[in-house]
Each structure stands twice: as structure tokens, then as C-alpha cells.
């Protein structure tokens, strides 16, 4: 009599999904990496030093994992949350007080703070091991952009609860855009864009207006930041992450002594 697990693994359904027997011997341990979509991000084999935690600190991996946590909890939060002046704060209140699994908001917020920290620590490790040196220069640049996107993701998300903490933090943060050289209405050189005595750069047309969608942090801003937070920046970050991971492989794997 074959055991139940043998019957399952012998079935046509199982075999159509997993092409190889269990990875218990060398041949199948190689095959599992090559034939599994999620695992094929990895090489088949790797230098011992490349998986030593005391070398990598695992911070890049943790950052990626936190990004996945943010995606899952974020999607669940989107089922509840409505980005309007009428509902935004009420929905967050409900998440705190009545909604079951409202703890998703805590997971999302602490995961976001954690991601900012781990992405810095990842950069710190990559610097300390000189891993940005040739041939990995460009991947460092991609990483710098990902670092920026992580901060922007966190920043745009900060507004969504629509409480005092949120709008004033965003107000303070975005006020600086008023002073953008030439393109901000309080910035140096804004007068240069004056046509027939009429200034082209006003508080209703400058860089800050473009960021907020209004002259102050209001409903347009909430909508704008919601779309940036849930769609635009995650998409951009996903593309760059794909490049970042792919380039690790193409540039010779995790860095090590030449």
C-alpha cells in the first residue's frame, strides 16, 4: 500500500505543478531551483560566505520581505479605507476600535518604519563591504533610487490616516517645495519666469501645488498621495527591485573577495 503522500505526489495534478521529485538528493536540489518560478531568483549554488549572516546581515532580504508584508497588509487595508475627507479618519478609527483584524494597520505601520530602517542598514552593509565597487556600480545606483522610493512610500502613507499627526507632518514636509529654485513661488529665481509683469510661478502653479494638487494639504492631496502610495510608487519600486535582484546575479552574485 502506497502512503497518502506517495499517492498525492504520484498524481497527475501534483506532477503537473512540480516537475521533479522532492529535493532530497543533489540532482533534485538543483532541479528545484531551476524549475520553480519563485526559487529561480536564486543561483543553484552559492559561496559559503555569501550566506553568512555576519557578512550580509540579511538586511536586503528583510527589506524585500517587509515590502511583501506591506503589500499584503496594504491590500487588506485598502478593502476598508476610503481616501476622502468624510471617511478617511473614520475608517482608521474603525480599524482601531471595531474592525476585526484591525491589527493590520499596526502591522502595516511598524512594517513601514522597519523597512526604512532595514533599507538604511542594507546600504550601510553594502558600503562597509565595498560591494558597490566594479562591477556592481550601477546596482548601487538602483539601490539609491529604491532607498528614495522607500522614503517616499512611507511619506505618502503618513498622510492617509488624516489625523493631526498626518496633515501637519505632510504640511511641514511639503512646505519646502514652495522654495524650489525657479519652480517654487518662494524660491530663488521665481521672478525669472515673469511674462509682461505677470508671474508664472504662484502658489497655484508651483512645485508644491503639483505635489499637493492644491494650495494646501486637502482632499486633492489625500487622493494624490493615496494613488502614489498604493499604485504609482509600488509599481516603480517593483520594477526597480526586479532589476536590482536580476543585476545581483548578472554582476556575479553576492560580493566577495576577488
Amino acid at each position: 500500500m502506497a502512503s497518502l503522500s506517495e499517492i498525492i505526489r504520484g498524481s497527475q495534478i501534483w506532477k503537473s505543478v512540480f516537475r521533479h521529485p522532492l529535493p532530497v538528493d543533489r540532482r533534485n536540489r538543483i532541479a528545484v531551483i531551476l524549475t520553480n518560478f519563485f526559487l529561480h531568483l536564486h543561483p543553484v549554488s552559492i559561496r559559503k560566505q555569501g550566506i553568512a549572516l555576519s557578512y550580509t546581515w540579511c538586511m536586503g532580504g528583510v527589506t524585500f520581505f517587509l515590502f511583501l508584508v506591506e503589500t499584503v497588509t496594504g491590500v487588506l487595508l485598502m478593502f476598508y479605507y476610503r481616501p476622502t475627507l468624510e471617511w478617511a479618519y473614520q475608517d482608521i478609527l474603525a480599524l482601531r476600535d471595531v474592525t476585526s483584524m484591525g491589527v493590520m494597520r499596526e502591522l502595516h505601520r511598524w512594517g513601514a518604519h522597519g523597512m526604512v530602517i532595514t533599507v538604511w542598514l542594507h546600504m550601510y552593509r553594502v558600503f562597509l563591504t565595498g560591494s558597490y565597487k566594479p562591477p556592481r556600480e550601477f546596482n548601487w545606483v538602483v539601490g539609491v533610487i529604491l532607498l528614495l522610493l522607500t522614503l517616499l512610500l512611507s511619506f505618502t502613507g503618513y498622510l492617509l490616516p488624516w489625523d493631526q499627526l498626518a496633515i501637519w507632518a505632510i504640511t511641514v514636509g511639503s512646505n519646502m517645495a514652495r522654495a524650489t529654485p525657479i519652480l517654487g513661488h518662494e524660491g530663488p529665481g521665481a521672478q525669472l519666469l515673469t511674462v509682461d509683469g505677470i508671474s508664472m510661478i504662484t502658489n497655484a502653479s508651483d512645485a508644491r501645488f503639483g505635489l499637493l494638487g492644491a494650495r494646501f494639504v486637502g482632499e486633492e492631496t489625500l487622493n494624490r498621495f493615496y494613488v502614489l502610495h498604493c499604485v504609482a510608487i509600488p509599481l516603480a519600486a517593483s520594477v526597480l527591485m526586479a532589476i536590482h535582484f536580476w543585476r545581483i546575479r548578472k554582476d556575479g552574485g553576492i560580493s566577495g573577495p576577488l
Partner: protein, 457 residues
């Protein structure tokens, strides 16, 4: 503590402090067990026939923390005083702390850590340092003003960040020194000894799986224990004091004290991003690729630590914990009093130059003068600052080449353009602490002040 009396406050922190000291006790006893079992215990003194080792020391420390735990749990004012930082010490810290002391102190601290790094990376020394900082933090938690800020939900991750950065800086330095010592003996770095390849399944995928399980558990506990903050509904008319940006931008907000928004909020952040991205194209040193080392790339190491640990992280810590209402500076044990007045009369360099030193009014174009004449007079008025800045950014790099072999070598290997980009990025970075010190020391406001065109620097 606003709206709480002391007894209520102490009850609130008591539960936390008890668990905190229990955790410290467990941490030290585990360390004692580890050094004893692994045979890594170091002998401290010899007493008669037996030697006291670090294993005994950590065990003793663990027992002390174990004794402190019930005191922490008590929540009673008289008992809690035994596990508090003495009032007099808190007073001294509050009075002595200021932005100047904090920043210069951070610089001096980091320089000492760097110069004596071989001493500080010793595991025994580092462990004592960790215990001391954790103890100081525990003893400070009974101070309502300190606890108020540290316990703010959004600030908790920053406390974590400080300890993690401490740990990873230690780890990086420890491994670097190990490699540097090996290099002196003609050995390759430790990393080179592990060239042997292993299969990703199971060696790596299992590490990943275990990491994910631990992280998920950690996040869940964190999320259940600590509630996400939610304040009153947004109101465009009620401005909170202080109004702070999210914590990771507080270094930029701190720069607003010294620079106009166009610099602090737009130009300098852009330079930070561009400068970071430029690192691989400016650092031509081929050594130190793929292993920890300090000696083989000292200049790069010091510059990065200066920018990251000092200018980025300590400014965030200052902006979070030490900047209160009206962005005034408050000591760590000081009440955030919105009425604290700091009389400051900051003066532009042109005023220093023309009025205070030359005793004459600042040059000014006569009313109705043409635009070119007005512009010329503005430039003339601000010439001291302009000369200083141009000199700083254009002449200092050349002076360095002439005066120092190290920079001459850099210049020769990098070429004019690359060298000037590097030098100017670093000089712009250095300008921040220079401006901070000019502000605190001499109340200097702007080097170049052209309010006519909103161009202040």
C-alpha cells in the same frame, strides 16, 4: 507628564520596567553561559586558587538585573527612586546639553570610537558598553519627560534604530579589524576562506524561511503590544507645536534652522541622493571589494561614517528627542515648555562686515537705479560672503592638492573634473557643521543674504 500625576505615571512604566530588567538579566545570564560553555571566558583577576572570569562577571550582572526587576515592577515612588537616574545628574545633563554640546560631543565621541576602535571592538568592552547604555535607558525611563518622548509610538522604532546601528557598526568594525590584522600578517580576508560553494537548497532557502518566520512573529508581537498612533482628526486651523515631519526627515527639518528652505528642503536632499549615487564612480580604490576592511579604505570609511552616522542619524535623533515646541532645544529630562524663550538675534555676514567691522552702512543702490546697477550693488554688498563661498568651493580643493600628498595623489588619479566633483560634494557636506557652529558660536545667519531674490545662503 501632562494630565497625570506621578503615581499614575510610575504605575504605567512599572510593568514595562520589570519586564525590561528581567530581559536584561536573561541576556547577561545567556552571555555568561555562552562564554563559559564555549571556553571564550577571559580571566579578569585571580582570587586565591580560582580565577574570576567574564563568565562570572556576566552572571553577576544578570543577578543584579534580576534584583532590579522587582523594584521596577513595584510602581511605588520611593522604591522606584532606587532604579532612577539621580535628580542631580538629570539637572546637570539638562543644563549642560545644548545643540553645540550635543553635536560637538557626537563628533568627539565618534572620533574617539574610531581612533580607539581596536579597544572598543573587543567583545568584552562592547558588551559592557551595551549593558551601560541599556541600564542608562532603563534608569531614565522613570523620568516622566524622558519617558514621554521615548514611549511615543512613532519614536519607538528610532530607539531600536540607535541600538541596531550601534550593533552593526560594532559588527562591521570587528570584522574589518579582524581582516586588517590578517592583512598585516599577509593573510587573505576571512571572506576569502569561504570560497567553497554550497547548494542554495537547503542551505539558503532554510535560512530565508527561518528569518521569515521569526520576522513575522516579531512583527505580530510588536503590532499587538504597541498601538499605531492616531491623534485628533485633521484640522487646518489647529497647528500643533512642535509640527514635525516624519521621523526619517527630521535631519532635513533640523537643517532648516541653518539653511533657507530652498537649500535644506530641495538642493541639499538632491545633493545627498546624487552624492550617494556617485559614490561608486568617485571611489576608485580597488581594494576592499567584497570584504570588511577599514585600513585599506580609511578615507572612504571616515567620510561615509561622517555623513551617515553624524549628519544623518544624530540629526534625526536630535530632531526627534531633543527638539520641542518652537523647535527649541530641550535636554532629555526637560519638560517641553512651549513658553521657553530663546532670545536669538542672528546676524548676516554682510552686517558683520560693513556695519560692525567697517563701521559704515551697507552699500545700497540709490532709489530709482537701473536693474544692473541695483544688482551690482547687491553683489558688492554681499561680496564678503560670496568671496568666502567661492574661495571655499573653488580654492580649498586646489589648496588641498598643493598642501597634501594624499589629495595630490587623488587629483592625479581622478583627473580635474572627477576630483572637483568629489571635493565639492564633500565640502558641501562639511559646510553643514561649519554653518551650525557659526550659528551657535557667533549667531551668524547667512553668508550671503539676498532677500531681494529670496536667495539666502
Amino acid at each position: 507628564m501632562h494630565g497625570h500625576n506621578e503615581a499614575e505615571f510610575l504605575k504605567e512604566v512599572a510593568g514595562f520596567l520589570g519586564v525590561y530588567y528581567l530581559a536584561l538579566a536573561a541576556m547577561n545570564m545567556t552571555a555568561a553561559l555562552y562564554v563559559w560553555k564555549s571556553g571564550k571566558a577571559l580571566r579578569i583577576v585571580k582570587l586565591g586558587g580560582t580565577a574570576a572570569t567574564t563568565a562570572h562577571l556576566w552572571l553577576l550582572l544578570g543577578l543584579v538585573f534580576l534584583l532590579m526587576a522587582p523594584l521596577g515592577f513595584s510602581g511605588d515612588a520611593a522604591t522606584m527612586r532606587l532604579v532612577s537616574v539621580p535628580e542631580s545628574f538629570r539637572e546637570i545633563i539638562n543644563v549642560a546639553m545644548g545643540p553645540m554640546v550635543y553635536t560637538v560631543g557626537s563628533v568627539v565621541g565618534l572620533v574617539v570610537l574610531f581612533v580607539l576602535r581596536r579597544f572598543f571592538v573587543k567583545p568584552t568592552v562592547a558588551w559592557i558598553g551595551l549593558n551601560a547604555s541599556l541600564l542608562l535607558m532603563g534608569l531614565s525611563m522613570t523620568d516622566p519627560d524622558f519617558a514621554d518622548i521615548v514611549r511615543k509610538a512613532d519614536n519607538v522604532p528610532i530607539v531600536g534604530l540607535i541600538f541596531m546601528l550601534g550593533f552593526f557598526t560594532w559588527l562591521g568594525a570587528y570584522r574589518a579589524i579582524e581582516n586588517d590584522d590578517r592583512a598585516k600578517r599577509g593573510l587573505p580576508p576571512v571572506e576569502a576562506e569561504q570560497r567553497e560553494k554550497v547548494l542554495v537548497w537547503p542551505d539558503l532557502v532554510y535560512i530565508e524561511l527561518i528569518c521569515m518566520v521569526f520576522l513575522t512573529a516579531f512583527l505580530l508581537v510588536w503590532a499587538i503590544v504597541l498601538k499605531a498612533p492616531l491623534e485628533e482628526p485633521a484640522s487646518a486651523v489647529k497647528t500643533p507645536n512642535p509640527s514635525k515631519a516624519p521621523w526619517y526627515f527630521l535631519g532635513l527639518q533640523e537643517m532648516l534652522v541653518y539653511y533657507d528652505p530652498w537649500m535644506a528642503g530641495v538642493v541639499l536632499p538632491s545633493l545627498i541622493i546624487v552624492g550617494l549615487a556617485a559614490i561608486p564612480y568617485l571611489d576608485f580604490n580597488k581594494k576592499g571589494n567584497g570584504y570588511y576592511t577599514i585600513d585599506e579604505r580609511k578615507f572612504a570609511y571616515v567620510m561615509f561614517q561622517f555623513g551617515f552616522l553624524l549628519l544623518w542619524v544624530t540629526l534625526i535623533v536630535m530632531g526627534t528627542f531633543l527638539r520641542g515646541p518652537n523647535w527649541n532645544f530641550f535636554g532629555p529630562y526637560e519638560t517641553w515648555d512651549p513658553h521657553k524663550v530663546e532670545a536669538l538675534n542672528n546676524v548676516d555676514l554682510s552686517e558683520f562686515f560693513w556695519i560692525r567691522w567697517l563701521h559704515m552702512p551697507r552699500p545700497k543702490a540709490p532709489d530709482g537705479a537701473g536693474i544692473l546697477r541695483t544688482l551690482a550693488m547687491i553683489v558688492y554688498r554681499e561680496s564678503p560672503g560670496i568671496v568666502l563661498l567661492v574661495g571655499y568651493l573653488a580654492i580649498v580643493p586646489h589648496a588641498l592638492v598643493l598642501g597634501s600628498r594624499f589629495f595630490r595623489d587623488l587629483f592625479a588619479r581622478m583627473g580635474f573634473l572627477r576630483y572637483m566633483v568629489l571635493a565639492n560634494l564633500l565640502l558641501m557636506m562639511m559646510l553643514l557643521p561649519i554653518k551650525m557652529i557659526c550659528r551657535w558660536g557667533f549667531n551668524l545667519k547667512y553668508f550671503v543674504a539676498i532677500p531681494e531674490y529670496m536667495l539666502n545662503f
